[in-house]
Symmetry: C2
Subunit: 435 residues, 2 copies
């Protein structure tokens, strides 16, 4: 590229896997990038373009002329184009849609109507469908022709005249069966399907549990409208991991290693300030009980212990609930069963930890049976309540469809701190005359 | 099954997808299970057996006789057998290995030697390999014969006479190309590979990034020894999610919704007790500074605030590092760059939060400029140190190959609480005469 040697560059670069091409391309500055556009045809560049992140695609897109873009779009699968179009300004997207082939454009317009995070938004319309009446040999012939433009040829979907999905044939079955066999004899009639509105995490669970390479998306009338393939679903799982971590660390969208400290600060600081404001309540609470604290100064030394344990038990319950929600396992029966179990668990853990800490409070130099009792009961009640709030708060927030980041670990921890300290000082104040 | 009607049961049950068969089977009691063993052949049962979890497989296994088990094992892919054999008592595994076909047994013995969490432990040896010199037509013939016993036929690996991997042909390319074309003309020579010792998370990243259905496992001499398929990797990603959550919640292996409260308590309580003991240090620390606290009681009200903010900033940094480690992105250059960024981020976030809290401490009724200064500086230093410890501690623990659960959110939070409170009281004590 340095020597402006087009042939040498093409020879070496095109020999690489498209994913590696993308990786190298990402490192290039604008001058080098412009040379790549010249040296590669739009068709070749489309392979590389696929491997870029959406925000990179958006930037690169502004550097390309219309003709090149349209040629490139022709090579991209419909689901990739849809993802990309939903990111760029609407008027540019509709301008491009008008210039595209009509059938392809219709397709993409349809895909654009599906909501984010659903099977509809993940699916592609480039799948292979056949009539049940043709022979294996005929089908092989069809695959030979359509094979290169479909997203996958490893599953062939068998449809009736009205596009109703009636079966599926895997390419493996097709290949290992006699050539004169009819498709209807080969196909499996029990097809695992999803609908366009199925949540993307549910789609990924289905593909994983049934060990599929793709799952068909059908309408309520069993008409097949698209397929979701396993590679789309892997990206969903990746997203899910990042989301889950966000729920434990109040760092929504700030997990990138490559951003500089200014951007990292900008993304994390708002959360910290929110937590700081919430944390002020703990200060207010202790201030409210100042009289009690002034009378029995020793109470202060257990403040962080109570707060920590409230946070820890809450986070444990939160983890169970977050995992359960991700796996779609919490319906209303499961909720009540889970709540009952968490209460019992909280009672037992509270009893043991409360017991332990009361012994310690009894044995320290300034200790007394009354102090042991206060701290023991407080920790017991705190752990019980924290288990509950760690279970219930994320579920409520999920139900209310509030941004789940608000139910993240640090928020629940801070709320539990407030509850825990309130319990601690209330019990201490009411038992004050025994101290 | 209730009516003992074998034919009806077989007809309805075998019509289901094996994954659904497993789900139904899991709900059955012992009596019903025994009937299933009678009604289904070992070959049919093997499909269902695959869909069970390892601990379920282990239990079911004790209910089956040897002949049935051996027949069933014959139908299972080598990687499934290996997983299962590494779970059952060694003498039973070697007894079964002796009874199995010699070639198959050798295979599994080899697979059993690979370490957990590596490509070697995930891979299967049932892949399709061909010579580069045969034609597409010949290869199709070979697929027709071997197709059913291989784990995947969608990638065909091209090997030299000494089993050296020299290329790969996808079934899609094979099908869409002329029948008289030679394999060596069809194959891609740039093959993405892993070795048997490659970490499983790295394998899953490769399959995801390159959109593969399988990746070949090669020796240092490029000899192909097995393949890892996309479905194995999805299970790895699932595991990874659970692990990541464990790192934030100290609930290692206790995320199951279905266990009762006694088991949940048994799994979570040890972590809580460990954290309780660690939390005792916070009590000891405040006790150590009791003289300061007795003199300026108002200091107590900011204890939970300092502790909370220490925990929150630490958890944010931890999230970044855990994600980076999972994606294999933190080498030694990246480490120093990350450390620098986190220090800068900590400085900025500390400055803003410290500033805010010092204004509050100045404005409250019992407030004073000195109090504002103490709490502001303390929070600033605490946030800086917590950012650091949240970055460095998990990396050190990872380097030392200690169980990463010890670097989980609650542990880092408690350690940061201790550091934060020490900073707070040290600063307060040294500035005491200004208050």
């Amino acid at each position: 590229l340095k020597n402006n040697d087009k042939d040498l560059f093409r020879e070496e670069f095109l020999d690489l896997h498209p994913t590696d091409q993308s990786e190298i391309f990402k490192q290039m500055g604008e001058v080098k990038r412009k040379k790549v556009y010249q040296f590669l045809s739009a068709e070749e560049f489309s392979q590389l373009f696929k491997g870029l992140h959406l925000h990179e695609q958006k930037q690169i897109f502004t550097e390309l002329d219309d003709v090149y873009v349209l040629k490139m779009l022709k090579e991209l699968p419909a689901d990739e184009i849809t993802d990309f179009f939903s990111e760029i300004p609407e008027h540019i997207a509709s301008y491009l849609l008008n210039k595209m082939e009509k059938k392809e454009a219709e397709n993409i317009k349809l895909l654009l109507t599906y909501q984010d995070h659903t099977a509809g938004s993940l699916m592609t319309t480039e799948f292979i469908k056949v009539s049940p009446h043709i022979t294996a040999e005929k089908l092989m012939e069809q695959l030979r022709q359509e094979g290169m433009s479909a997203e996958t040829i490893y599953y062939i979907y068998v449809v009736s005249e009205v596009d109703k999905l009636i079966g599926v044939v895997s390419l493996r079955e097709l290949i290992t069966s006699p050539l004169d066999r009819k498709v209807e004899q080969l196909m499996k009639e029990q097809v695992v399907t999803v609908t366009a509105t199925t949540d993307q995490e549910h789609v990924s669970t289905i593909i994983k549990d049934y060990n599929l390479l793709a799952v068909p998306v059908v309408t309520s009338g069993d008409r097949i409208v698209g397929i979701v393939t396993v590679d789309d679903v892997m990206d969903v799982m990746e997203e899910e991991i990042t989301e889950d971590i966000g729920e434990f660390a109040a760092v929504k969208g700030a997990l990138d290693l490559d951003v500089n400290s200014l951007i990292a600060t900008k993304k994390r600081l708002p959360w910290l300030i929110l937590l700081l404001i919430l944390g002020m309540f703990t200060a207010g609470l202790i201030n409210f009980f100042e009289a009690t604290l002034a009378e029995v100064a020793i109470l202060a030394i257990f403040i962080p212990l109570i707060a920590d344990m409230a946070g820890n038990t809450g986070t444990q319950s939160l983890a169970v609930v977050v995992r359960g929600m991700a796996l779609n396992k919490i319906d209303s029966t499961a909720f009540w069963r889970l709540l009952k179990r968490e209460i019992e668990t909280g009672l037992m853990m509270g009893f043991v930890c409360g017991g332990l800490v009361s012994i310690v409070a009894l044995l320290i130099p300034q200790g007394s049976p009354a102090l042991g009792l206060i701290i023991g009961i407080s920790l017991f009640v705190t752990i019980l309540f924290s288990t509950l709030s760690g279970t219930v708060i994320p579920l409520i927030i999920n139900k209310l469809k509030i941004d789940p980041a608000v139910a993240s670990g640090p928020f629940i921890t801070t709320i539990n701190d407030i509850i825990g300290l309130f319990i601690y000082f209330s019990i201490a104040t009411s038992l004050l005359h025994y101290l």
